[in-house]
């Protein structure tokens, strides 16, 4: 019996008979004249990132490196979050100074995660143009389930992790995917739906609140 695989490949071969045999997949030139880089200063990029993240109705704060732990504690308290899960490698400077219990993710069950108030993670890269944070399971990020089940996601982005656009972000991510098959999640604002009369509603299944701290960004401002 010819397998489905052989048969489909055979059909494709027959269907593309107009393509010269000598032409190989790599021969087809694809021009990429779209923008590869954003020509903007770091400050401008961070500013744009903050603005665009906020456009999705996520909350954004600029935080000095020295005050991260305090701000983390403050924002958790403001949300009424007392138990936060975090990847085991979350730096101590990022852990809330007081009032919040941080539970390291050591293979917590999905049910356990579902019962926790929120999650604190870092990220792999932030995209200014689209206001997107990207997680790839690298340092300070943990596995996917921890940033999915709790209803509140507090994400810390280092100012120098912010890039201009999608092409720059893909260049940051590609090695981890190629070499380690890292799972990547692009997050742009809190979970949302527009399924009911196109009214945007935050939070259906994913975290309903997304809060972003930009670390070491702009010394002029701190969290309010």
């Amino acid at each position: 019996m010819s397998s489905a695989r052989e048969e489909i490949l055979g059909r494709i071969h027959a269907a593309t008979r107009d393509v010269p045999e000598s032409e190989k997949a790599d021969d087809v030139a694809v021009t990429r004249s779209y923008r590869q880089r954003h020509e903007a200063s770091r400050d401008e990029l961070v500013e744009l990132f903050a603005e665009r993240v906020a456009d999705y109705r996520a909350t954004v704060h600029h935080v000095r490196r020295a005050s991260v732990a305090d701000v983390v504690a403050e924002v958790c308290e403001a949300r009424g979050a007392t138990r936060m899960v975090a990847p085991a490698d979350l730096p101590t400077e990022w852990r809330p100074s007081d009032g919040v219990e941080v539970i390291a993710d050591e293979n917590l069950s999905h049910e356990q995660l579902d019962g926790i108030d929120g999650v604190i993670t870092g990220c792999a890269v932030g995209i200014a143009e689209t206001g997107t944070i990207v997680l790839d399971g690298g340092p300070r990020q943990g596995r996917r389930a921890i940033s999915l089940l709790p209803d509140y996601h507090l994400c810390l982005v280092e100012a120098d992790q912010v890039v201009g656009g999608m092409p720059e972000a893909v260049s940051v991510l590609v090695d981890g995917v190629r070499s380690a098959g890292r799972p990547v999640t692009f997050i742009s604002g809190p979970s949302a739906t527009s399924d009911i009369e196109l009214d945007r509603v935050e939070g259906v299944h994913g975290p309903r609140t997304l809060e972003v701290l930009i670390v070491g960004a702009d010394p002029r401002t701190t969290a309010s």
């Binding site: 489905a4 997949a25 923008r35 999915l148 995917v177 999640t185």
Partner: protein
């Protein structure tokens, strides 16, 4: 499915008579259209992105076999398993087999139009497996036993009051207002348990990367993340045309897709996974590659571009036909302009003859399509196939009885000679005399043209054609 589905004009008439539906559709399509225009205008390099998107898809399709083999290798290397399905039945059997193999009787499913195409839910139900739809809109539709009318907002034809009714009837809630927030909360609670208990998740795939074996789901609500992360087993179904060569290609498509579909700079969540990852997410991953007519589309050099489609639905929202009739009038899983070209190619031209004609050829779809599918060109090409199919079926005298074919043949003959053409102009003027009675024609007796005069007067033929005037003028100029 049993029996031929009704034609587009028949179903459109029913849809157009539903004023609530027309209002919902008009509002919805206008809103998304405006949002899309805003975020597209924001990008200075939109046209360059479209061109690259198109070029990548074209290059993939020219060497689809190579790319699929590469994808299979990469997925396998990353710990996944690849299955090939020639048609819907085969795909359904494969998926049901995996689910049953794990002793599961329930799956958590994230919306996938490809799974609608193969009627996966019905096929699973027949084998005692319940598919739980987890998108809000899909849930609404599933609870109501309805069908989707839009790729992205499948319940676009339902308003909040109707949704409230559906939830009150089917969900375990006593009180519920029609506030979208409350409706969404009800769905969240209802589905959370399902996510936590599901042993198998099923998804579609927006893209898959041949180079790395990565598969993507682009979504908003988070149910895609849930389905592709929480259950220990994940099955993803994708059409063979969804493969992209390299991970870098995502930098193009992740710009084109969200802006074209929901009119956002980026959709809330995009999940990318590469086989399985130890200690993170499903530990068993199956990718089902589906043909189901796609290789037949590939064979047609003009129709081939249809496979560029990334299912963004921009063409639906700008279509003056779709935005008035809604999706159900197409009697096809794929509605709107893309449905009008894709469905007849997937199921065979004879089974969807009216769809290529469900367009004024206004070109609005082509203008917005992020991968530059020349939809009007394909529509006209398919119309040619419809005509030739009819001509082949009714050869000889029966072909001449078809009123349209007869009229077209007669006109072609008239236009092929100046003398015949001028004679026909004179005859037409004589023929309309009894109808015109000095002034516009407000009623035409039965037959082909009566649709015209239902709403419009028909202009009476003038006393003199242009060429008669010209010849006279030339004559008088020569005399002078």
């Amino acid at each position: 499915m049993s029996g031929p589905s009704p034609s587009f004009p028949e179903s459109a008439r029913v849809a157009l008579a539903n004023t609530q539906l027309r209002r919902n559709m008009g509002y919805a399509t206008q809103t998304i259209r405006a949002k899309r225009a805003l975020v597209v205008d924001e990008l200075p390099d939109w046209e360059e992105l479209r061109e690259t998107g198109r070029a990548i898809k074209e290059s993939v399709l020219r060497h689809l076999d190579e790319h699929l083999e590469a994808l299979e290798q990469s997925v396998t290397r990353a710990g996944g398993q690849v299955h090939w399905a020639r048609d819907a039945d085969e795909a359904n059997r494969i998926i049901a087999g995996i689910v049953s193999g794990h002793g599961a009787t329930e799956i958590a499913k994230v919306k996938s139009i490809t799974s609608d195409e193969i009627k996966l839910n019905e096929a699973l139900a027949a084998r005692g497996i319940e598919a739980i739809e987890t998108d809000l809109a899909e849930l609404i539709i599933q609870l109501d036993g309805d069908e989707s009318s839009h790729f992205l907002v499948p319940a676009i034809h339902r308003n909040r009051a109707e949704i409230r009714e559906i939830f009150l009837e089917h969900l375990d809630v006593d009180e519920l207002s029609d506030d979208p927030r409350e409706l969404a909360e009800a769905a969240r609670l209802h589905l959370r348990e399902k996510f936590l208990s599901a042993r198998v998740g099923v998804s579609g795939a927006n893209f898959a990367i041949a180079e790395t074996g990565s598969v993507l789901v682009v979504e908003s609500e988070g149910n895609g993340r849930m389905c592709t992360t929480l259950p220990p087993v994940l099955i993803s179904l994708m059409g063979i045309e969804k493969v992209l060569p390299t991970f870098q290609d995502l930098e193009v498509f992740l710009q084109l897709l969200p802006r074209s579909s929901t009119g956002e700079r980026m959709n809330p969540y995009t999940s990318v996974w590469t086989g399985t990852s130890e200690g993170d997410g499903p530990q068993e991953f199956h990718l089902v590659l589906l043909d189901n007519g796609r290789t037949a589309v590939l064979r047609d050099e003009i129709g081939r571009q249809t496979l560029n489609c990334i299912r963004c639905s921009a063409c639906l929202n700008v279509c003056p036909v779709y935005s008035r009739t809604g999706g159900h009038a197409y009697n096809s899983v794929y509605p709107g302009p893309i449905g009008a070209i894709l469905t007849p190619q997937l199921v065979g031209i004879h089974a969807a003859e009216s769809l290529p004609y469900a367009s004024t050829l206004c070109g609005a779809c082509y203008e917005v399509c992020p991968v530059k599918i020349n939809i009007p060109e394909v529509l006209v090409h398919l119309r040619g196939k419809v005509v030739r199919h009819k001509q082949a079926e009714h050869s000889g005298w029966r072909a001449r009885l078809d009123p349209e074919a007869a009229a077209m043949a007669a006109m072609a003959r008239v236009f092929s000679s100046r003398a015949r053409y001028e004679r026909a102009q004179r005859l037409a003027r004589l023929g309309q005399a009894p109808l015109a009675r000095r002034g516009p024609i407000s009623h035409l007796p039965g037959g082909l043209m009566s649709g015209w005069t239902a709403m419009r007067d028909l202009k009476a033929l003038p006393q003199r054609t242009f060429r008669e005037w010209w010849v006279e003028r030339d004559g008088s100029r020569a005399d002078a």
